[in-house]
């Protein structure tokens, strides 16, 4: 119970960066249920309002989850489907989660892919992906090693017809060296074609380094579609 309190407090501390918490972290486990519900609702509301920008330090939460992944998974197992469903819907209000039948499995896969945010080059992929500076997909078009700090980069992927076309995918952008997750969200794409893209730029701009991008089907097991890595050698500020 002690570690759970620490976990909850730690994560809430992370969340407090966004919101005005009314309760103190120490008192969290003893808050009565109605008050706790209200705090959660306020918390969600504030996150949704303030989440127009990216978090200051997502690695703190990531590290904590990594250290206590087993416990977090165990707790997810014990939560009711309704609870998981409710919070998934609140986290992703613009996305259709009806294809996710086993919300527990989905939540655990999310945690897994969030804390181990590095591409495994040996993992089998059915599709292909590449990152370029252009929205237009062109074969053999490589990303220039020199990019502007505030430039959106386009992660193109091709299912090669081996994945059912769907209007939604899940995508993760992460820093290869630190494992820091930069972007981890469902995205809406065009279901009538096999090639799509998701573009992204970090709030504080690109830094020199190597990055991973991975696409998943938005289903229970977050089945991978394609992954790629790219390197930025020079950033133009």
């Amino acid at each position: 119970m002690k570690f759970l309190a620490a976990l909850v407090i730690g994560m809430f501390c992370f969340g407090l960066g966004y919101c005005v918490a009314r309760s103190t972290p120490e008192s969290e486990p003893t808050v009565s249920e109605p008050n706790q519900d209200m705090a959660v609702e306020n918390f969600i509301h504030t996150i949704q309002q303030k989440n127009q920008t990216q978090p200051e330090d997502p690695t703190a939460l990531q590290q904590q989850l990594k250290e206590q992944k087993t416990q977090v998974n165990s707790i997810i197992d014990q939560a009711t489907p309704e609870q998981i469903n409710k919070y998934l819907q609140q986290a992703f209000p613009d996305y259709d989660l009806s294809n996710i039948h086993d919300k527990h499995a989905f939540a655990k896969r999310l945690v897994g892919e969030f804390v181990d945010a590095k591409n495994d080059p040996h993992e089998r992929m059915t599709g292909q992906a590449s990152v370029t500076a252009q929205q237009q997909y062109m074969a053999n078009n490589l990303l220039p090693r020199q990019v502007y700090a505030g430039q959106q980069l386009f992660a193109h992927f091709d299912t090669l017809g081996k994945t059912p076309n769907n209007e939604q995918v899940f995508v993760r952008w992460s820093n290869q060296a630190t494992g820091e997750v930069l972007f981890f969200m469902p995205q809406r794409i065009s279901a009538n074609r096999e090639q799509n893209w998701v573009s992204f730029k970090p709030a504080k701009g690109w830094k020199v380094g190597s990055y991973d991008v991975k696409y998943y089907q938005l289903n229970d097991q977050l089945v991978p579609i394609a992954q790629t890595s790219f390197t930025i050698d020079q950033v133009i500020e």
Partner: protein, 149 residues
């Protein structure tokens, strides 16, 4: 149990929201494509942001394309009536050059060229302009000619 699960679920929510979240800043976009018909005109929105704006209460379709012949993707291959000479048409065509692939279009202004394939007439219309209607490209000891004439 509820007392335990609730904060944990909230943590899950934080996790999910933390890395991109439900925000709609200019940090990301996607290739979502949607058509809207307003006042008898069809708008093609080629990104999620553009579609959201067009389908929103303000019906701001400024980031979308009006459906017209110019929004058709050029797929026809250009002919080579003579070796190393590529004939571009007014409907546009794809040029398979020795070491590059371009899409060309003949307009009243001249020859327009844009690198790549799967491009629409509208996109190629904004490509490099050669007012004379043709261009010679040296490739090693050869010269490839792209022409409207």
């Amino acid at each position: 149990m509820k007392r335990i699960a609730l904060p944990v679920c909230t943590c899950l929510l934080v996790l999910l929201s933390a890395c991109g979240g439900s925000g709609s800043g200019d940090y990301f976009n996607s290739s979502y494509e949607k058509r809207f018909i307003f006042g008898g005109q069809t708008y093609i929105c080629r990104s999620e942001k553009a579609a959201d704006a067009c389908g929103g209460s303000n019906q701001d379709c400024s980031a979308c394309e009006l459906e017209s012949p110019s929004s058709v993707v050029i797929t026809q291959l250009c002919t080579q009536p003579v070796s190393n000479t590529h004939k571009v048409t007014v409907n546009g065509c794809v040029l398979q050059l020795s070491n590059d692939t371009q899409t060309g279009l003949c307009t009243a202004e001249g020859l327009r060229l844009l690198s790549g394939t799967n491009l629409t007439r509208q996109q190629v219309s904004a490509g490099a302009l050669f007012p004379g209607g043709s261009v010679n490209i040296p490739v090693g000891s050869l010269t490839e000619t792209i022409t409207c004439n």
